[in-house]
């Protein structure tokens, strides 16, 4: 049945307005990154007076952007790998076995997911300082410490999502594998994990994106050498000048990898959310 014209018109107007709203900052980011400094310090102009790629060259020397990039990559990558691997094991245990304390475990996971980051910031800060004083292991200011703190966001979410996803993988499949002589870990890695790939990818994408975009812990828990992009971008404003064209160029450069990866994997994300969270 063809939709009535009232529906078509509402859809056209709504989607046009929404597209404008969504794209406005993207346009500003792209166009401003190609403007000379005079253009971004004066009155706003929709079109640049002269196109220049200068900001894209200068961003690397104004602040040590490459180092921040590597830091972000290492921290976000490690946090993602850790939380996905750990979540796969524990979600499998919860989804496939009955054991004492299961409910306590899932309730803990579910509830820590809703705690505000600020709640953990102060205690982790003090804990790291204390561990550093007592043992000499520098957690505070190190990449390792930051990776550990990022698990506060990604781990509970990953476990929770994967339990839902593993539940949706038919139990007969891995039971058959067990009967055929697979060990439980064999059943997990040969049957359950391959069947749950969309869920695992969704969880990995989510974990990486949160770590890549996190500001709070990064601003407190890093020093000059371990600073991530989230904090490093603030370096483009000095007391006298704000290099808006460079800020926009740098924003674009740090966004492209995540946005491209996300759009490539969005199919998995929708599938993962359907089974993991929505069911």
């Amino acid at each position: 049945m063809a939709p009535p014209s009232s529906f078509l018109w509402s859809r056209r107007i709504f989607l046009t307005l929404l597209t404008g709203f969504v794209l406005l900052p993207v346009y500003v980011m792209v166009s401003s990154s190609l403007k000379p400094l005079a253009d971004v310090t004066g009155e706003f102009r929709w079109l640049p007076s002269g196109l220049t790629i200068r900001p894209y060259i200068d961003i690397w020397s104004t602040v040590p952007l490459a180092r921040y990039f590597v830091n972000s990559l290492v921290v976000a990558g490690a946090a993602t790998v850790c939380s996905v691997v750990i979540a796969v094991f524990s979600a499998y245990a919860v989804s496939r076995y009955d054991f004492r304390g299961k409910r306590a475990f899932t309730v803990t996971v579910l509830s820590t997911q809703m705690f505000p980051g600020i709640l953990f910031l102060l205690p982790l800060f003090l804990l790291y300082v204390n561990i550093g004083n007592a043992t000499g292991i520098a957690l505070f200011g190190s990449r390792g410490g930051l990776i550990l703190t990022y698990l506060t966001f990604s781990l509970p979410f990953s476990i929770w999502m994967l339990i839902g996803y593993f539940d949706s993988v038919p139990r007969d499949l891995d039971e058959a594998a067990l009967v055929d002589g697979c060990g439980p870990l064999g059943a997990l890695f040969r049957i359950v994990v391959p069947a749950a790939i969309p869920g695992i990818v969704a969880v990995a994408v989510y974990a990486f994106m949160t770590a890549w975009g996190e500001v709070l812990f990064a601003s407190v828990m890093t020093n000059d050498t371990t600073r991530t992009l989230a904090v490093g971008l603030q370096g483009y404003s000095t007391l006298n000048d704000v290099y808006w064209n460079q800020i926009m160029a740098a924003s674009l450069v740090v966004s492209v990898p995540v946005v491209a990866g996300f759009l490539l994997l969005q199919r998995y994300l929708v599938a993962g959310l359907t089974a993991g969270a929505v069911k």
Binding site: L24, L126, M209, S255, L263
Partner: protein, 328 residues
């Protein structure tokens, strides 16, 4: 959903008449779930439970900058930190109450708008039309962009002298007498709300899209046969069928928006303007700017109690909660 041990149970059942054979690897099997959980348990302990315990202890201490190096020696202050936090006639408590109310209002508005826009977009894009795939990818861009990169662009757009917003509202449309300030003063609330909705609605869109896939097509066919128009189908089938999905979505959006730190922090810096003083930044400010970790911790614990209460009531009221707490 809880009958997970179908493989294990028959073997462990002593009622089969056979004496349970001692089997190599049997102990390992019984311990297996715990072994699988071990890494998660250790980490949960390290990043959640121990810090929470520390946080609660901290909230009963007089923890100022003098004791940071060795906070264990900070003197006990009993309930003083809590008393200060909830004394709404004194400056600290008054500011906290104000921040809490701002956060509640902001969260309700933001979640409502995100839900509305996300749901409308998902429903409008339910059936195929030309350009749908492209549009869907575009709509996910705000969600995919790193918070600081996206929000810093908004900061640029909200600039007083060289921002797009004032250029459009004042120079081009002449809607305002003079260029407004967006990142200080009362307007900052609307600036924050705009950014938050821009960033948040794609998540609602994503979840509702996923939810729409679970509605069987026969329902629409039957309704069409009965003569229901498109709008009626949306009102009578689509929206009611989304009920369970919406319950999860609204709770998650609420918690995320309520706890959001990144957006206001990038938008306003360490000290948010009064009109947009969200609770996370407020606690950060109370702890790291005025260096009173004890009061900051007490505020965190109060915030946590509030969130637990809201979530508990919400889960008790919605069916999802009943199902989730039994099944999981």
């Amino acid at each position: 959903m809880t009958t997970t041990a179908e493989v294990e149970k028959p073997r462990a059942d002593p009622g089969t008449g056979r004496a349970p054979r001692p089997r190599p690897g049997r102990i390992r099997r019984i311990g297996l779930p715990y072994l699988l959980l071990l890494p998660a348990l250790v980490l949960e302990l390290l990043v959640h439970l121990v810090p929470m315990a520390i946080g609660i202890v901290m909230s009963f201490k007089e923890l100022t900058q003098f004791y940071i190096r060795d906070w264990g020696t900070a003197p006990w202050s009993g309930l003083d930190n809590y008393r200060v936090s909830v004394d709404f006639d004194a400056p600290v408590g008054e500011a906290l109450l104000h921040s809490f109310l701002v956060t509640v209002g902001f969260t309700l508005l933001s979640v409502g708008l995100c839900w509305l826009i996300g749901t409308a977009a998902a429903i409008f894009m339910q059936d195929t039309f030309r350009g749908r795939g492209l549009l869907r990818a575009l709509f996910l861009v705000p969600y995919a962009l790193p918070v600081y990169a996206a929000v810093i662009t908004w900061v640029f757009m909200f600039q007083h002298d060289n921002g797009l917003v004032n250029h459009v509202l004042h120079d081009q449309l002449h809607l305002t007498d003079k260029p407004s300030f967006w990142l200080i003063g009362d307007n900052s609330f609307y600036a924050l709300l705009t950014v938050s909705v821009w960033k948040g609605w794609p998540f609602a869109f994503l979840i509702v899209m996923a939810g729409l896939q679970n509605i069987p097509g026969e329902l629409y066919e039957a309704a069409a046969l009965d003569g229901a128009g498109m709008w009626q189908q949306i009102r009578r089938i689509t929206l009611p069928s989304l009920g369970p999905v919406n319950q999860v979505l609204v709770l998650v959006l609420f918690l995320w928006t309520f706890n959001d730190f990144n957006t206001p922090f990038v938008l306003f810096g360490r000290a948010a303007p009064e009109a947009a003083d969200l609770i996370s930044v407020h606690i950060y400010q109370a702890s790291f700017v005025t260096w009173n970790f004890g009061t900051g911790s007490a505020m965190s614990v109060l915030l946590l109690l509030f969130l637990l209460a809201v979530t508990g009531v919400y889960l008790a009221v919605t069916s999802r909660g009943r199902r989730a707490s039994h099944a999981r």
